[in-house]
């Protein structure tokens, strides 16, 4: 069986490595072949960008060579796909090469699109790319006091990021001894402070405790960088000195250009993780249109299901597992404390009080990530 994995992020790498382990005998005998096509020869630990923005990590700590993370029986090419020919079981790459497959895994990920909101690119700071995280760090270093606004676009990657930013800002300014000179205001697009109800219930008293003002039902309409004004669709405005935005995201351009799904999100069966209408195409991670968080952990749990099912099809002809919607998110809660949210399609998260050991667990995970993408954890 020719298995083609498109995308070398968290989801694609775990699928490929997990498959390579499960099908090591088959790849040796030539009964299975695993190929990965990626846009980059480097792999980034994306959650680390928040640490870069607050000076707790340097950018070089976020990267590893992609080839070093892959099992030796994976045929890896830095040659991104430009065209999907799903009816012919083929893809065409940037170099013009055509790859045929029997099973395709699409793991192309997502991208922020701040340019879709007028003025956002010019007037706001982000931390979803290396350059923007470093720029935000420099802005924070220069900041001596005033109003810091945080606003959230939808949909976006990592649902916990908005609340984590607030805790990180509080801690950062407190450590610099200027917390009393900084006013923190949080803007969220729905009528509570987080999309996950139990996270909202937990975060509200925490925000009250650290003195964060919040405004809900605030959907970003425009950023007036010249006058430092943040405007909402609901007609409200906020004057800021520093604006940090969690920008709205879309799936990758190649998905939109090939008309695989609106907004770049591919319609995916929530249990089998197959692309709707295509029995030999799986979708994993941010690329799906599933109603679960766009996080590394969701990608990880989905990747395991897909790899196990493809391996099982190779070995016995049938899949063996369904994805249950599992997501596990660490939540850094400030003061060296953290908690976590675990949930699935059936069960909402039940947040425990933050603790230092959980903070250490999160710190440890930042290192253990590399073990995780290798398919070991």
């Amino acid at each position: 069986m020719r298995i083609l994995v498109v995308g070398g992020g968290t989801a694609g790498t775990i699928v490929a490595n997990n498959l390579a382990r499960r099908l090591s005998a088959e790849t040796r005998r030539g009964k299975a072949r695993i190929t990965m096509l990626s846009a980059s020869d480097r792999h980034m630990y994306q959650p680390g960008l928040l640490y870069v923005a607050f000076g707790q990590m340097t950018p070089d700590q976020l990267y590893r060579d992609q080839a070093s993370l892959l099992e030796s029986n994976i045929d890896f090419h830095v040659d991104p796909v430009t065209e999907f020919m799903l009816d012919q079981n083929k893809v065409r790459t940037q170099s013009g090469k055509v790859h045929e497959y029997d099973t395709l895994v699409i793991a192309t990920g997502s991208r922020m699109v701040p340019e879709e909101i007028p003025g956002m690119n010019e007037g706001a700071e982000f931390f979803y790319t290396e350059a923007s995280a470093v720029k935000l760090y420099k802005k924070l270093r220069e900041f001596q006091g005033g109003k810091v606004a945080v606003a959230v676009g939808v949909p976006h990657k990592c649902p916990i990021a908005p609340v984590e930013v607030m805790f990180s800002l509080h801690d950062y300014f407190k450590a610099r001894g200027i917390r009393d000179k900084v006013h923190l205001k949080y803007h969220y697009p729905i009528n509570r402070i987080h999309t996950i109800e139990n996270v909202a219930k937990w975060a509200k008293p925490e925000f009250d405790r650290i003195g964060v003002e919040y405004e809900t039902l605030f959907n970003i309409k425009e950023v007036d960088g010249k006058n430092k004004l943040l405007k909402s669709e609901e007609g409200t405005e906020y004057q800021y000195d520093l604006l940090i935005v969690i920008p709205q995201h879309r799936g990758m351009e190649v998905v939109e250009q090939n008309k695989l799904g609106p907004g770049g999100w591919i319609p995916t069966d929530r249990y089998s993780l197959k692309m709707n209408g295509h029995d030999n195409v799986y979708v994993v991670g941010d690329t799906t249109n599933l109603p679960v968080s766009k996080t590394g952990s969701a990608a990880h749990f989905q990747a395991e299901v897909i790899a196990e099912n493809i391996a099982s099809i190779v070995k016995v002809g049938e899949p063996v597992r369904d994805y249950d919607g599992k997501v596990y998110c660490f939540i850094e809660a400030g003061h060296d404390r953290a908690t976590y949210a675990m949930f699935n399609y059936q069960n909402p998260p039940d947040l425990k009080p933050p603790s230092k050991p959980m903070h250490w667990f999160k710190l440890s995970y930042n290192q253990m990530y590399w073990t995780s993408v290798r398919g070991l954890l």
Partner: protein, 139 residues
């Protein structure tokens, strides 16, 4: 026969004392460790477990370890390490080679060198047979 109450071991002051000491140990570890230390420990563990995974799934290495269980192979290793030590000492104390075909003939006429060449030839013959077999089976 014992009543249900009697089956439960009583918790005495000594047990509480031990519990308090353990809690103190945990608190002390919390105070002593820094985020940097946790990062380093986790990083070492992560890299260590990755290396261990590679080693345990390396067919060549596991085969080598199995072969090393044989006494004759352990003796071979001992002989090999002794040979390295002796060769190193001998090389340090002998004059540089004069060169030329005469020097080479003199070296080749040494029975020890001939024994060594025979050993290398036998190992080479077995190795090429083994390599051919590995490729034939597609392993």
């Amino acid at each position: 026969m014992t009543s249900p109450n009697e089956t439960t071991a009583p918790v005495g002051d000594a047990d509480f004392q031990r519990l308090a000491e353990f809690a103190q140990l945990v608190t002390s570890a919390q105070d002593a460790l820094s985020d940097d230390m946790v990062n380093r420990i986790a990083s070492t563990f992560s890299e260590g477990i990755t290396m261990l995974d590679r080693l345990t799934r390396n067919e060549g290495l596991t085969h080598l370890l199995r072969e090393l269980d044989r006494v004759e192979n352990q003796q071979f290793l001992i002989a090999l390490s002794n040979a390295f030590t002796q060769a190193s000492r001998e090389l340090a104390s002998s004059p540089p080679a004069a060169g030329g075909i005469t020097g080479l003939l003199r070296l080749m006429s040494d029975p020890g060198v001939q024994e060594g060449m025979r050993l290398m030839a036998i190992v080479g013959a077995h190795m090429s047979n083994s390599l051919r077999e590995v490729h034939r089976r597609g392993l």
